[in-house]
């Protein structure tokens, strides 16, 4: 039934039908690149965000902030997004549709990384291959290719004098507030700051469902370090096994993956920086925990052309769906680029004071101008002359070697006797220096993670002679932990007891759905398809026997059922949903219910 659909198409259909996600504003024909998460999707996405927060904020002891999504123009002048955050656009002369020129080339030629080519070359390639408009077939050859800035622009307040932009990444909200955040970290490196939130890119042609949208959710961590002193706790993840696809292997025709551990990868220099290695290790374990299929997952190093000029090393986490590799996270060593830029463009202090191990004695050229001479001579300008002399002594002591010294202040030049300046070289004790921290940035795409989890969780098998589809979602992220059903809906004894169980389970912290509509088999299928890990059914057998009351508990992936005393239900469900106990262990402890009762 599904053989003629791709994995992605099947997923998109199920996602809409079961309330995971669907194109937004469908009543008005939709808005390309915008998706709404339905009840199941919103819960799954929220669980993924919570799992990320738990691992990358709480466990790491980092600082999470929540900054606005609209930021004023100077922020993006400093960050470089105003000038450089562009995609290449070509417009069809026939139908007026806009296309990403680099994608057209990649889709129609053997060239894989057209984004890094200069515009003139892209125009030539369109002409050489006589590329056509995917919408109407019009000829694009000869059409101009232009840079299109991907930021959504708006105006803050009345009028157009204060442009604002929707942030293209959550990161800038952290960088721009660094002067505040460092205070909460008591001015002491290393520390990390995180943010989970919306980001916006006005994509020319959004595609692939929730993989490339115009509004999406990022979870970003900015790790601020002293590059000379701070080391990660690499031992924590040294043994984590990873599949790496280094740049050198990608360049090599016979190149292959490197299966190794994080510790060895850093030691061998495959991963150039220990912090990057540390975060790859944490990410590997985290992705596994939330349900990414690690056989369809790799870390791919950026090729030299893909990297920003300031990034020393950069790796992507990639997942495979439909035979394509999707970037789901990036891990970049960004040096001091971001904080330096904001330091230059603003008046705030984006440095940290690094204490020396011991105070150092340094020679320092200073002046101590005789103001009783400068005052009468320069009047109101005397203080400016004094400052200029101090600055000059620090910058160019040799200027004080003659009998007089010239300084410029307020556009005028002043000549001062060296004696009056009182120039001398002093020994000073310095306790430290100001440094601009380096940044390592693990940046996660939440929507793409959700997409991967759903794609990798989708399975079909046969139960009771019928094909069923199910999502093998991990209890960590599944929208619902437990489904609770009365076997039939018209017996008060069963529905009341099932209702009580729902209350008990909710009180114990489980996310529960109650369902008494349709046949029991149909209710199981429904929960299978939304990925509910366990279903509890209240039946007459369980309430009418001699022993304690019991219910059946069904495991989604195997459709096996065991009969468990009601009094043990919360404990056992907690054990299997937390992973402390396997369903196999339950099967050994309790009676397996005969197959066939599923229908």
């Amino acid at each position: 039934m599904s053989a003629d659909r791709t994995e992605g198409e099947r997923l998109v259909e199920l996602a809409k039908r079961r309330g995971y996600f669907f194109g937004a504003s469908g009543a008005y024909g939709g808005a390309s690149g915008f998706y709404t998460f339905g009840p199941q999707g919103a819960a799954l996405k929220s669980n993924v965000e919570d799992a990320w927060r738990e691992r990358f904020t709480v466990q790491e002891g980092n600082f999470e902030i929540e900054a606005p999504t609209i930021m004023p123009e100077p922020v993006f002048e400093a960050s470089g997004h105003l000038d450089g955050f562009d995609d290449m656009l070509v417009e069809c002369p026939e139908c007026g549709t806009s296309h990403r020129a680099d994608h057209l080339i990649e889709d129609n030629t053997d060239i894989e990384d057209a984004e890094s080519l200069p515009i003139s070359e892209v125009e030539d390639l369109i002409a050489d291959h006589d590329l056509q408009c995917p919408n109407c077939g019009g000829r694009l050859s000869g059409e101009p290719v232009e840079d299109f800035n991907l930021m959504f622009e708006t105006n803050i307040g009345p009028g157009s004098s204060t442009p604002g932009y929707l942030r293209p990444e959550t990161a800038q909200g952290i960088f721009v507030e660094f002067p505040r955040i460092k205070e909460y970290a008591r001015n002491s490196l290393p520390f990390g700051a995180t943010q989970i939130g919306r980001a916006y890119r006005n994509e020319i042609s959004p595609r692939k469902s929730i993989v490339r949208t115009r509004e999406f959710t990022q979870a970003e961590l900015e790790q601020f370090v002293d590059p000379e002193r701070d080391e990660p706790d690499l031992a924590d993840v040294a043994d984590v096994e990873v599949t790496l696809y280094p740049a050198s292997e990608q360049a090599d025709e016979d190149g292959s993956y490197v299966e190794t551990t994080v510790g060895e990868a850093v030691e061998d220099g495959i991963v150039g920086d220990a912090w990057i290695g540390y975060f790859l290790g944490i990410a590997q374990e985290w992705y596994q925990r939330v349900g990414v299929d690690m056989d369809r997952f790799r870390f791919r190093q950026h090729l030299a052309g893909e990297r920003a000029h300031y990034a020393a090393d950069c790796w992507d986490a990639e997942s495979e769906v439909d035979g394509d590799w999707i970037e789901i996270a990036g891990f970049a060593y960004r040096g001091d680029y971001d904080l330096s830029k904001h330091g230059e463009h603003s008046d705030d202090d984006f440095t940290i004071f690094r204490q020396f191990d011991e105070p150092k004695t340094v020679e320092k050229s200073v002046v101590d101008p005789d103001m009783s001479v400068l005052g009468p001579e320069f009047g109101g300008d005397a203080a400016d002359v004094q400052s200029a002399l101090e600055e000059l002594a620090d910058r160019d002591p040799s200027a004080f070697e003659g009998e007089t010294v010239r300084v410029t202040a307020g556009g005028d030049t002043y000549e001062v006797d060296v004696d009056v300046a009182n120039f001398r070289v002093e020994e000073q004790t310095v306790s430290g220096e100001h440094i601009t921290p380096h940044v390592i940035e693990p940046s996660f795409g939440v929507d793409r993670t959700v997409y991967t989890i759903l794609a990798h969780a989708y399975h079909e098998d046969e139960v009771d002679g019928e094909t069923r589809s199910y999502l093998s979602l991990s209890p960590t992220v599944a929208p619902t932990d437990v489904g609770v059903f009365p076997l039939v809906s018209n017996v008060e004894e069963l529905t009341a007891r099932a209702g009580d169980l729902v209350d008990d389970l909710r009180e114990s912290g489980f996310s529960v759905v109650y369902d008494d509509s349709g046949s029991i088999g149909r209710r199981y299928r429904r929960q299978d398809e939304v990925g509910t890990p366990f279903c509890v059914t209240v039946d007459r057998d369980g309430l009418e026997g001699d022993g304690p009351d019991s219910v059946t508990v069904r495991e989604r992936d195997t459709a096996r059922q065991v009969r468990i005393p009601v009094e043990s239900l919360v404990t056992e469900l907690r054990a299997v949903t937390s992973g402390d106990r396997s369903f196999d262990a339950l099967v050994e402890t309790y009676d397996l219910v005969a197959p066939g009762t599923d229908a």
Copy 2:
């Protein structure tokens, strides 16, 4: 020390210093109306959102969705925001600053609700009172007052052909997806849909810190009901005591609050709709739970002039800060306004099929045209003529009383013999009808709730002879549950044991901060001021006695300390943070530590 500062000023200072919130993009001079939540604030806000989700989504069994913040223009044409979502703007002719004209009038006259006045009257009032620019003192008399649309506008995709707007409320994301959400609810009323997320209003003059910002977070619930059939479970909240300020009392010079219960308020007709009453009751309990001071809280009914024309009844939850009442939530009976509008403007189905209790027999006028006559006579237009006849029979049976009947199809008029049309009146069995659900909308401002909680939690007292300030935050929302300290930081035995406790507590689900910097008194003050409910200190006394190892546990609000065995720590902390046990009970069970050790 704080006598000369208002409650709001004190709060803003503490919020910035301790990492609750601060003006965003301060490095670039700030962006008016945009705030960043620091580590404490982001955690508090996230806890408030979780508490809301738990009560208004999970416990109510509602559907939570997550829709985009950018929506296309047709959505806001339908909702009325494009035309009507305006504030009155007046610009100073001297300095060019824009002001809200209605606020100027409210600030400088006795008029309390200038927003509802027509523009011409507002212009007259400015002239009559000779109002001046608050920025430069320029005269505003005679300046035009204009409607300014509060939506942030942007463009979707390249060019300006597809305008998009940042949603001014999360509600539209729910309304516009109603045709999808009703399927997840299996087309059966009543059901509720919720959304927590950012909303945007391009305020002319943002003010009062995070109370009136340009980007903020809402938590909204749209309760969809069949107005003739669905009733809330009012009994659940009938006994909840509320302070009401009905419109009639506001209009009365001697008007006063009505102290009553939800059940009585609905019965007495003070609250006109049972659903509104139900949500007032839930909200009252919820606000209390998250730490709003209920002595500084009321429900105020909208005056007739404040209400939207379609809203049958509307109440605000208001909290008092600095002597002002702040709207922190609204509860509106919106009728079928929202869904009807989207039904009219789009092609989608915003109705629900309401099954009759028993199928009804109705008389229906129908035609059954003889196509063997129509076909040859009208050729390719025959089918259109057939449709037109069917439509006419339904709409105006009297048209079939003559010998021929005229219909219009595709702009042309056709004359058909009544015999050929085969007109007759039939009895039909109808099982139900399509209705447009009514909407009750509880809409919460998350930022304002956070602001209120912090303002109401702020206290000052004297401990060990010194003034201290502390936030009496409820454990439900406090950013951190427990602070853990070694009494001194240079004793390995103490720091190691404290570190172990941190791990144990985190594993048990507590949010924990470790601190070994500065004197123990200073560390307590720090946690007092961020509102951490309990602090655990590891000291030598606790580890070196004969009995089991023990630690001290200090309650924030009273600064009392008890000595508790380490083995009971997790259990006792869980009991006091969940509210199952009071600190008084701990004091009765364990030894109270002598006062004075706090310093």
